[in-house]
């Protein structure tokens, strides 16, 4: 069975979804999806362990060898992503049962779990596959389930946000399809590894430039990078809090994985960064994104909007790390990817707990929450601190590597800007702390008591993970460095 691990990773949640539909009672569906997600997490752990020991794993689908059939190619980069996605989904699923009671009508709970499993399987599929067109198909599955899940939100604006996300997402996906088509036309193959071998010969032609441009723009639309981020705040703010927690921690990460995979593995480092002024473009867009999103976050009244904008800012950091295009830069991006998933998972789950108790995440009814829901507020504070990058938290580790990579590259002003960006983070995190701890509780809110246990366990596992990986960074740093070495040394 060990040989079949890569495909089992995707197939178990994928097959679990239709099975889940057959179960009538939502509680049974919840347990079933929890088991499926737990199994996926287990497998990703074993895969990571296997990859770290014996290098890249190749799994041909249907027994046909690479360019003819579809193959799965798992190297350190995929294994890290697989681990993050399955871990986050399992933890978020813990709190799903109680949270959706308050936010989704009763008859749609089983459907919620089916769509949740489908989007999980699709993301695992995107990350694991080694075939360009297969990426498009699974990208489409994850986006479709995302649109449906976001539209389940209570507020009528969730529908409008989901519609805008659909339009932007489909345009992005079609751009990627055009890009893949152009690449296929010039090289005749769809397999990523095969592409990376055959592309250099045709690299100078104009078609390959356009293919590269379209793929990158398509991915950036999915990534919600600065100029193309308009759909993200509404989509994350009005979706049910479990959906926001899950997508905030994983959806953008998958898009960044795609960006890294296409620029480094498929198009090759030399092509991506020398011909086009990509490096300069991405650094400026990243930094502008950080500042614009952080200032926007400061003026938000809804805390979910606030953290959604801060997610865009953190993505800006990853883009800056990515644009340094050295091994250290890539390690910094991968680390920040890993850490940001932990941070945002904890924060949005804690917001889910607040939403469960109070019914809305407006900043005004956060008043006096420090006393009424001390444990949840403590989780939000620690999450906020790790967002700022205080030592002994996970944020500090990624900030340390990012600034180190930037300085090694000689960009001193960029280093100062990155640190100034985290100052803005202090402002918007402290706005919440001040409202929660210093303002007296509102009149009718004495009855609010602490969030139920089913929320506290996942929130606090993520918070402890936030601190643990801030101290014992062996796992995250080792895998990140191995992944960036493998991308820079010899392409997989």
């Amino acid at each position: 069975m060990i040989v079949h691990l890569p495909i089992l990773q995707v197939i178990i949640p994928l097959m679990a979804a239709p099975l889940c539909l057959l179960l009538t009672r939502p509680r049974l569906a919840w347990l079933f999806s929890l088991i499926a997600s737990g199994l996926a997490f287990l497998i990703s752990g074993m895969l990571l362990q296997q990859v770290m020991t014996s290098g890249t794993i190749i799994y041909e689908m249907g027994g046909w060898e690479a360019p003819w059939g579809i193959e799965y190619r798992i190297d350190q980069l995929n294994a890290l992503l697989l681990l993050i996605i399955s871990a986050l989904s399992t933890i978020v699923l813990f709190a799903a049962e109680t949270s959706i009671h308050k936010e989704i009508p009763a008859d749609k709970h089983t459907l919620f779990y089916v769509l949740y499993l489908l989007s999980l399987a699709a993301m695992l599929g995107i990350v694991a596959t080694g075939d360009a067109f297969n990426v498009f198909v699974f990208l489409e599955i994850s986006s479709l389930s995302a649109y449906a899940l976001i539209a389940l939100g209570q507020d009528r604006r969730a529908l409008w946000a989901s519609y805008q996300y659909l339009i932007m997402g489909t345009i992005g996906a079609t751009f990627i399809l055009i890009g893949i088509g152009l690449m296929y036309q010039m090289t005749g193959t769809l397999n990523m590894y095969d592409l990376s071998i055959r592309l250099p010969e045709v690299a100078q032609t104009r078609t390959v430039f356009t293919a590269f441009a379209f793929v990158i723009v398509g991915i950036c639309l999915k990534l919600a990078m600065f100029p193309l981020h308009l759909w993200l705040p509404n989509a994350y703010a009005y979706a049910p809090s479990i959906v926001t927690a899950f997508f905030a921690a994983t959806a953008t990460k998958v898009a960044i994985y795609l960006l890294i995979r296409f620029t480094f593995s498929v198009f090759g480092l030399s092509f991506s960064f020398t011909h086009l002024p990509l490096q300069l473009l991405f650094v400026t867009l990243g930094l502008v994104g950080v500042f614009v999103a952080s200032t926007a976050a400061i003026y938000q009244t809804n805390v979910k909007h606030l953290f959604a904008y801060s997610s865009i800012a953190q993505i800006g950091y990853m883009i800056v790390g990515f644009s340094i295009s050295t091994a250290a830069g890539l390690t910094a991006t991968l680390l920040h990817l890993f850490n940001h998933a932990l941070m945002k998972g904890a924060l949005f789950l804690a917001l889910g707990a607040v939403m469960y108790r109070i019914g809305s995440t407006q900043l005004s009814n956060f008043q006096g929450l420090g006393r009424q829901m001390p444990v949840t507020m403590a989780a939000i504070v620690i999450g906020g601190l790790s967002l700022i990058g205080v030592p002994l938290t996970v944020g500090f580790v990624s900030k340390w590597y990012l600034v180190l990579a930037v300085i090694e590259n000689g960009w001193w002003p960029v280093a100062v800007l990155i640190l100034a960006g985290s100052l803005l983070a202090i402002v918007y995190v402290w706005r919440i702390v001040e409202v929660a701890y210093f303002k007296p509780a509102l009149a009718g809110t004495e009855t609010i008591q602490e969030a139920p246990l089913s929320f506290l366990i996942p929130v606090w596992t993520l918070v402890i993970a936030n601190i643990y990986f801030g101290i014992d960074t062996r796992l995250s740093v080792q895998v990140a460095q191995a992944a960036s070495q493998s991308l820079f040394g010899v392409s997989p």
Binding site: L144, Y147, A151, R157, W160, I171, T174, L177, G181
Partner: protein, 116 residues
């Protein structure tokens, strides 16, 4: 040079028409129509790649030796299904938005959003 690539340019014009409709029009249903035109034109682009002069449909028959390339056709089969899935979901959303907001014009919805 002109004759050989003429086909692709027509497809690109079609793509841009679809793209324009999606961006310019406020009506949600119009946007979905634009989106499906945009996707169908991408399908035509793929298929026009696969055509070989004098080749016949990729069904093995003894007397034919020249076949068109089957691979893009397989990709397009998947893409059509993806296209219809997105259109179905988009229409479902449009119906729900009509019920929730009472209109499917982008600016009216935006106005109602800014109110509350």
């Amino acid at each position: 040079m002109f004759i050989g690539l003429y086909n692709y340019w027509v497809v690109i014009v079609l793509m841009m028409v679809g793209f324009y409709i999606v961006i310019a029009h406020g009506n949600l249903i119009k946007k979905i129509v634009g989106l499906s035109i945009f996707q169908t034109s991408v399908f035509i682009f793929y298929i026009s790649m696969a055509k070989v002069d004098g080749g016949s449909a990729p069904i093995l028959a003894d007397e034919i030796n020249q076949y068109s390339n089957p691979l893009p056709q397989v990709l397009i089969l998947t893409a059509i299904v993806v296209g219809i899935a997105t259109t179905a979901l988009a229409l479902a959303l449009a119906v729900r938005i009509k019920e929730a907001y009472g209109s499917i014009e982008e600016d009216e919805i935006q106005k109602q959003d800014n109110l509350d």
